[in-house]
């Protein structure tokens, strides 16, 4: 964190950036390290990436190549939970949530809504804004 205590805002809009070839090294892996080094960051999810903040569990992503089971594919929902545990503040944009949200329990409770009905993160309040 900077001397004046302002945080950085990370914006993630694109989901599905490789699975087999990416495994642990997805965009949230970088976000987690930035969060650790910065003493906390805010992350705004937009577009398809709002599904990272879904509360529902789903089968762990697993696939088979040859005779080998690969169970180390990216698991962004789990990564978002880890980020929250480690002090990151997760936001999800309401306009994009509307495409997926099926009920009041769809979104993880700890995730902040931003959009027409609620204030979005105020860019000017951050030390920097970064599109990942």
């Amino acid at each position: 964190m900077s001397e004046d205590g302002r945080r950085r805002l990370l914006i993630i809009e694109r989901a599905y950036r490789g699975a087999l070839e990416t495994q642990f090294a997805d965009v949230l892996y970088l976000a987690r390290e930035l969060n650790r080094q910065q003493g906390g960051t805010d992350i705004l999810l937009r577009g398809l990436a709002v599904t990272y903040a879904a509360a529902g569990s789903r089968p762990a992503p697993v696939m088979v190549a040859g005779s080998r089971k690969i169970d180390t594919l990216p698991d962004p929902r789990e990564s978002v939970r880890t980020l929250i545990e480690e002090g990151a503040v997760i936001w999800a944009e309401e306009d994009d949530l509307a495409m997926f949200e099926t009920g009041p329990d769809w979104l993880l409770p700890a995730v902040r809504r931003g959009g027409p009905a609620d204030p979005l993160p105020d860019w000017s309040a951050y030390r920097g804004v970064y599109f990942l």
Partner: protein, 135 residues
């Protein structure tokens, strides 16, 4: 020249790059499903997809700093795994031009480099050709 290519049921032409979509994962799942059902599969990689089988990748990805002791397989190791499991029915070709242009050489063993102007023979050698992504 076409006679020198073995016949295949399906060609998966992986044209798009890895790491920007789930395309490579879909290609491998599709190949696995076809091979498990007895089909003969040809894979052709172009563009940055040639890097999937670069020997420089080694067996494992770089270490995960939050799970240091675990070895995550590289895409090259997974390609080897596929070729080991289905040695008679999977053939993996890679575009020679793209391999050199994108710095993917040398490939791991059993990746057959082919000049791009021979690609049409590969289309003729299979019953069904699927293009995944664009270079």
């Amino acid at each position: 020249m076409a006679q020198q290519l073995s016949r295949g049921d399906v060609l998966l032409a992986v044209m798009g790059p890895p790491h920007i979509s789930d395309m490579v994962t879909s290609a491998v799942r599709l190949a696995q499903a076809l091979l498990e059902r007895g089909a003969t599969v040809h894979i052709w990689t172009c563009g940055h997809a040639t890097g999937l089988t670069s020997a420089a990748l080694g067996e494992a990805k770089p270490r995960n700093v939050v799970n240091w002791s675990y070895e995550y397989p590289s895409s090259a190791a997974l390609a080897t795994e596929l070729l080991d499991t289905f040695p008679d029915r999977l053939t993996w070709y890679s575009c020679r031009f793209c391999t050199e242009e994108r710095g993917s050489a040398p490939h791991i063993a059993r990746i057959r480099q082919r000049p791009p102007f021979k690609f049409t023979e590969h289309l003729d050698a299979v019953d069904t050709a699927l293009f995944l992504g664009v270079c």
